[in-house]
């Protein structure tokens, strides 16, 4: 479902979804072409969660994200060119090529740390919330992390403290393990948790939680509204588990565009949906889902959707060009920024 928001805002959410999807597709393409930018993770399948949640933040709210950050950064307004440049290790990247995909950080947008250590950002995000409280500021802190982070001890330590000190922090756990069993062989890992319901892990600490379908824009909007209100009212932390299906292209090594470059016309033309990955295109793909919902609600026509998409594609295209043409950093710059 769509949140009850004006058309412009819905369009904006949709635009962000497309931006993320087209960015990731381009990235996978660039890697195929032989770009060497280390192991990376894409946000395909989780776009709606990020697009809805991140735009609800105020400019001075703080955000913390993980190895699977591209969607979060783009959803909050990161420039695709500078992000891509960072992923390609270029001097013009957000981190001057020092971070890469694992640590890409548009600091000007209120991101404070992108940590590739599973669970690493959980205490950090609570810390920013602690700062807000101590300095009597209004900002809240949002912590984005995967289901796997709940297997790390840093998570419950932080839940305890965040609850004890009523910190204005939102724990947004993106559980992308749906459709996976336990971790298999050297496969990319899925949740390995004895807890049947991950949100119950915060219940003993008295932290309220919501379990939502992360591809349902209305649900994300509703859960975030509640959590933000709670945090801003000084009532303490909240936990949201946004469930999404694991995209088939998430491979242990490199993401693989198994489901193809997204064809938005599949949203209204079922005949275009191929037999392979039919579930994905019909039910799980959040970009196709929100396209259908927007059509049905009459916010945009088919043509308008395709037009928006081509705008987005050309924006991404410019970003790709910018990143490709950007220079590599000066080797000597490796010795800068060790200390402030």
């Amino acid at each position: 479902m769509l949140p009850n928001l004006p058309r412009d805002e819905i369009k904006d959410i949709f635009r962000r979804c497309l931006l993320i999807r087209r960015f990731e597709e381009s990235l996978i393409g660039l890697h195929r072409e032989g770009g060497s930018f280390g192991h990376f993770h894409v946000y395909i399948g989780e776009e709606v969660t990020g697009a809805v949640a991140m735009r609800m933040l105020q400019p001075d709210d703080k955000a913390f994200t993980t190895h699977r950050n591209h969607g979060h950064l783009l959803a909050r307004g990161a420039d695709p060119g500078r992000l891509l440049a960072e992923i390609m290790g270029k001097a013009t990247g957000y981190n001057k090529g020092k971070g890469g995909t694992l640590h890409a950080l548009p600091g000007e947008l209120g991101f404070l740390q992108t940590s590739a250590v599973v669970g690493g950002v959980i205490p950090l995000a609570a810390g920013a919330a602690y700062a807000s409280k101590q300095m009597k500021k209004d900002f809240v802190s949002i912590c984005l992390f995967g289901d796997g982070a709940l297997e790390e001890g840093a998570a419950p330590e932080t839940f305890n403290i965040a609850a004890l000190w009523s910190l204005p922090v939102i724990f947004l756990c993106e559980n992308n393990s749906l459709g996976l069993g336990e971790r298999k062989s050297s496969d990319y890992s899925g949740s390995t948790n004895a807890a049947r319901h991950l949100n119950e892990l915060v219940t003993p600490y008295g932290i309220p939680s919501r379990v939502i379908d992360g591809t349902d824009a209305a649900a994300v909007h509703q859960a975030m509204s509640e959590a933000l209100n709670r945090a801003r009212a000084g009532k303490g932390p909240a936990f949201i588990e946004a469930q999404t299906y694991r995209w088939a292209g998430s491979k242990p090594l490199w993401p693989d565009l198994l489901t193809g470059i997204t064809d938005l016309t599949m949203a209204w033309d079922k005949g275009k949906i191929p037999q392979e990955h039919r579930q994905w295109h019909e039910k799980q793909d959040p970009v196709l889902r929100i396209s259908r919902e927007i059509l049905e609600a009459g916010h945009l026509s088919r043509e308008q959707i395709l037009e928006l998409d081509s705008e987005v594609r050309s924006e991404i295209g410019k970003g790709v060009l910018f990143a490709k043409e950007s220079p590599l950093p000066d080797p000597q710059s490796a010795f800068e920024n060790i200390f402030a």
Binding site: K96, V117, A131, S141, E336
Partner: protein
């Protein structure tokens, strides 16, 4: 100048910093361990209340991360880990988040956090409570490391740390708490990266850190009576390190003993020795000696602890071996 104890100097620095800047706060309050000086912390708590001096659960990785994240968002927290051995619980946050944040963000995220640890052999701490993790921390770039040894240094370095935008580890030693010394008035600071020659001598250089400076001064005083003039160099901070002061002393004496409380292998003394062996080689008249904690987990019984510790006897013997 006023003479006060090291513990009082630390407490003064904390008190003044908290008065002057509402962003300065403490997470954890075993700064003075279980020593009698912990009354100083009780006084600070009285003065500033729990909103500024926050007791915490037994959750080192959580608290270190919260201090780090708070620093990223503009607070200037001092995270008190107390017994240094338990910074291991916080290791991922200290060495892989706080230390890396500024660099890996390309200079965007500043982390003005201080981690306070009480290191070293304290008598009966046994294997799990006696660590001196400063060598491991030195191997993690991005952290500043201070190890004051006098009241004036303690106050002046702590002030510098509090005003710094970088993560700093305050490597403290409870056996220093009662050391007395003159402390200047006013807002003086001791800059990082500036070593101090704690005693001038011409025959042998003793490079020592933290509590080992006190031991080295004792040995120097004793040997002086016999005509052996020992120079005691205290780097005061490991990161940044004042190599020049160390190398200048070695250039003068040609003989050097490095004294340090870490376990021997890859300890602080190893690094200082390696620097001298590379950059001060031409002035060396004798092998570089190290007096360190032995590569043995710390035993409980005092006689055993003593056997593995860098004691005054061992420092003295090392110095003598270079001048005989």
């Amino acid at each position: 100048m006023r003479e006060i104890s090291y513990a009082e100097a630390v407490a003064e620095a904390l008190s003044e910093a908290m008065e002057n800047d509402p962003r300065v706060c403490l997470l954890g309050s075993y700064f003075f361990g279980l020593s009698p000086r912990r009354v100083l912390m009780d006084e600070l708590k009285e003065k500033f209340g729990p909103s500024r001096i926050q007791d915490t659960p037994i959750s080192e990785i959580g608290i270190a991360g919260i201090g780090t994240g708070a620093a990223m968002a503009g607070l200037r927290p001092i995270v008190d880990i107390a017994t240094a051995s338990f910074i291991f619980q916080a290791w991922p946050q200290v060495v892989n988040e706080a230390a890396n944040a500024f660099y890996m963000s390309g200079g965007q995220t500043r982390v003005p956090v201080i981690f306070h640890i009480l290191h070293g052999l304290r008598g009966g701490g046994a294997a799990q409570h006696s660590h001196s993790p400063q060598a491991m921390l030195w191997n993690a770039p991005g952290l500043q490391i201070m190890l004051p040894t006098s009241p004036a240094d303690a106050k002046g370095l702590l002030r510098t740390a509090i005003h710094s935008d970088n993560p700093t580890v305050f490597v403290d030693h409870s056996l220093l708490f009662e050391v007395k010394g003159p402390v200047p008035d006013g807002d003086y600071r001791v800059p990082f990266g500036q070593g101090d020659v704690k005693r001038v001598g011409s025959d042998v250089t003793l490079v020592a850190t933290s509590y080992m400076v006190q031991r080295s001064l004792q040995v120097a005083a004793k040997l002086s009576a016999e005509g052996i003039q020992v120079e005691v160099v205290d780097p005061r901070t490991l990161v940044p390190l004042d190599k020049e002061t160390i190398l200048a002393s070695v250039a003068k004496t040609g003989r050097v003993v490095v004294v340090d409380e870490c376990h021997r292998s890859c300890g602080v003394a190893a690094e200082i020795s390696a620097i001298i062996a590379e950059e001060g080689f031409s002035s060396l008249k004798k092998p570089i000696k190290r007096v360190t904690r032995a590569d043995v987990p710390v035993p409980f019984s005092r006689v055993l602890e003593n056997a593995i510790a860098p004691t005054e006897d061992k420092i003295e013997a090392a110095v003598r071996s270079l001048v005989s």
